[in-house]
Symmetry: C2
Subunit: 441 residues, 2 copies
């Protein structure tokens, strides 16, 4: 080889070598125990209650939540590692263009989950969920999705396992943002705009308001109703469950390794939160501390939509995961299951509660919360696009907006902090939203 | 760190470390001399002829083409390396899911250029072109674009250099596929559907046919006309020029290093061709041979659209680069500058000729050519999406379709070849085309 051509001629890591082989069971590492889910009737869930809803392995993982003192690490099954190896490790990048655009003298890094299969972080949990279903001999997974990131990921993961995939997609997105629906349908998934005509609860809502826009809570309710008549089907959740948060720790563990290799110690770590599983996975090593993260403890900042101010204005209590009180109840920050957000483009953030794990961390002040308006999010996304050429999902734009706030604060105080955020998904499939916001149509 | 968590605990290459510092001047390494461009009047171009059209540095690089025996390597300017470092090196991935879907027992690898800023390989040449313009003190770059990959990349690159960007976008794409137009406009570029009302030639064509769909040749003609009245502007070309092919060798050199590191020796190397610069950059080390590529010589396969069969059915002769005979003439395979392709979704392939460098390589049988129909391309893209969760640009789908053909041939002969292709751009911005093709709307 012509070594003179290469800046870094001794770089030896084969491209695309997977670096993480276990998930991190945060519940076992926290000084507080994570409240277990309760049945719709208010009794503490047993694994049998969950088995009829989730796959057996997801139910087992969900029950780990409350059991303090368990193993801190869960091995990733080889079949799942094989799928992860298709796209992981994902890049950790320095946002030099964005730093320059902001005139910031500190450093900004971001972890790219937007190049993953189907364009977001969601395959990290879709892949194991589909594999569990296959191992259990199930025929179908049913789910809900907002903007469609989760539905697309599950459609991909189930196809590889030859499992049927049914998706209840928030009706506002189904009608106005059809691109992710096309992707799901290309993958062979069955997609319904929710509320839909296929369930009783859906029909009731449509009778009341034929132009009902839906919500994630309603979608989950319809998924639960559909589940009841299909014994070989189970519910798959892309957020809000402990198992999904567990699966997402693959991001954080991989990130910790990259930070050590690159010699980076973040002062502030920022992520957007819909349910909060992506965020908790992203921050997992910092929450766990040594030996998972031996550096300084950064400030951890969860950013929600100001239209759905669960963390900043909700209550911490037991509430149903769905709008119809069909699912289990979980202890979480919530605006109440009947909460209906205004129309918004960041469909993935459109949910009445936040995950029990994130809620616990917030309750004990281990993470901080901030709320960002849709306007500020899109403006931040545009600035990031101009600077880096990367279009972030509207969800991720909330994190980027908060990065700008932190930079402004740093500049006021004359500080040069290292800020890190998670780019959780691509915005190319949300261009209609951008175009609408910036009046380009 | 908890080393037990990591499969590959001694991986040491910092993420995102740029590995290539020079471009490869293929013209200096070929046994045949590359015919220089001629002026519109038929005289061999001097650098002065080009200086009024391109930036001075692009003109200088363009003249390298004909001069046999020059330096085989050109240093990448530090300011350009800095921009490249934002997204390079790009991943080399094994397509295990696609292998499985095809039941193929050989290996398939692909180089991902779809995660680059603005979603394609185009920034590799947009970045240096914008920087040259800035260094020269110019105020504007004018260009044409088909589906918009090139326009988006130039809009990004010029913004960073504070250079105005004007884009003539093939009118069919401008009207029917507005997403990349939105991206260009968000970046601050001035975008016209071509043929447009802003030039004489555009107005003439619209008068003849108000629903004219345009072509890259027409767009380039309008760009040339606009240039004539703006002394502080120059033309920027994303393909067809020698300089753009030179810039794209960053892909091939990086690739060669990754192949050595990963111990991969491809038997067949496949890329789609619009003008052909991405493809020639991709295959550069294999064409150059030792010391740039010391492994076995793979078969090199350029894949064009069957709707625009330049390589498989065109003539090798001098022809104007634009439809109106305003630009220089280059020696290339061409269907004639008046050629108008049928309506198609792979807008980037919609051009009447192929680059002189690719044409020379084909003429001397150093590369082979194949043509793929739009139907086959979309079907291949869908299969790849199902298997890998990655949606390829319709342009790239032509390469994927050819991969399937090669796999089929291998299976017939009982061979297990290693096939490598370039995933030149993301398809998320072409979902309307996919949806239309698969009748999902």
């Amino acid at each position: 080889m012509a070594h003179s051509l290469f800046v870094n001629e001794y770089g030896t890591r084969p491209s695309g070598t997977l670096s993480v082989a276990r998930w991190l069971n945060l519940a076992a590492l926290l000084p507080w125990s994570l409240p277990l889910p309760q049945t719709a009737e208010g009794r503490q869930c047993e694994i049998e209650d969950l088995n009829s809803i989730y796959t057996e392995e997801c139910s087992r993982l969900e029950m780990l939540a409350g059991e303090y003192g368990r193993a801190p690490e869960i091995s990733i099954p080889p079949a799942v590692l094989e799928q992860y190896a298709k796209y992981r490790p994902t890049p950790l990048r320095r946002a030099r263009g964005f730093e320059k655009a902001l005139g910031y003298e500190g450093k900004i890094f971001f972890k790219r989950e937007d190049g993953n299969p189907t364009g977001s972080h969601k395959p990290n949990t879709a892949v194991p969920q589909a594999w569990y279903a296959k191992e259990q001999g199930l025929e179908e997974l049913i789910t809900d999705t907002g903007a469609g990131q989760w539905g697309c990921a599950l459609a991909w993961a189930t196809r590889a396992c030859k499992i049927r995939c049914t998706v209840f997609m928030t009706r506002g997105s189904y009608k106005n943002k059809p691109y992710r629906r096309y992707l799901m349908e290309m993958m062979g998934a069955h997609v319904f705009g929710s509320p839909s005509e296929t369930t009783k609860s859906g029909r009731r809502l449509l009778a009341e308001d034929p132009s009902h826009e839906g919500s994630l809570g309603i979608g989950m309710g319809e998924a639960m109703e559909a589940l009841r008549s299909r014994p070989n089907a189970r519910l798959a959740l892309g957020c809000m469950s402990y198992y999904a948060a567990l699966h997402q720790t693959v991001i954080g563990l991989e990130l910790a390794q990259q930070l050590v290799e690159d010699g980076v110690e973040p002062d502030v770590v920022i992520g957007c939160v819909g349910g909060g599983t992506n965020f908790t996975g992203f921050i997992a090593p910092f929450v766990a501390g040594p030996p998972y993260w031996n550096g300084q403890q950064p400030r951890l900042l969860a950013v929600e939509s100001a239209s759905i101010p669960v963390l900043t204005r909700g209550e911490y209590r037991y509430e149903h995961a769905d709008a119809f009180a069909l699912t289990r109840m979980v202890k979480m920050y919530t605006l109440g299951r009947a909460f209906l957000p205004e129309r918004m483009h960041a469909g993935g953030l459109r949910y009445h509660g936040k995950s029990p794990l994130l809620s616990l961390l917030l309750h004990h002040k281990r993470v901080d919360a901030a709320a960002v308006t849709t306007d500020d999010a899109f403006n931040a996304g545009k600035l990031f696009y101009e600077a880096e050429g990367i279009l972030a999902a509207p969800e991720s734009c909330h994190a980027i907006s908060q990065v700008i706030t932190e930079v402004t604060d740093c500049e006021k105080r004359g500080e040069k902090k290292t800020i890190l955020f998670c780019l959780s998904g691509t915005g190319y499939l949300d261009l209609a939203g951008y175009a609408d916001h910036f009046k380009l149509v």
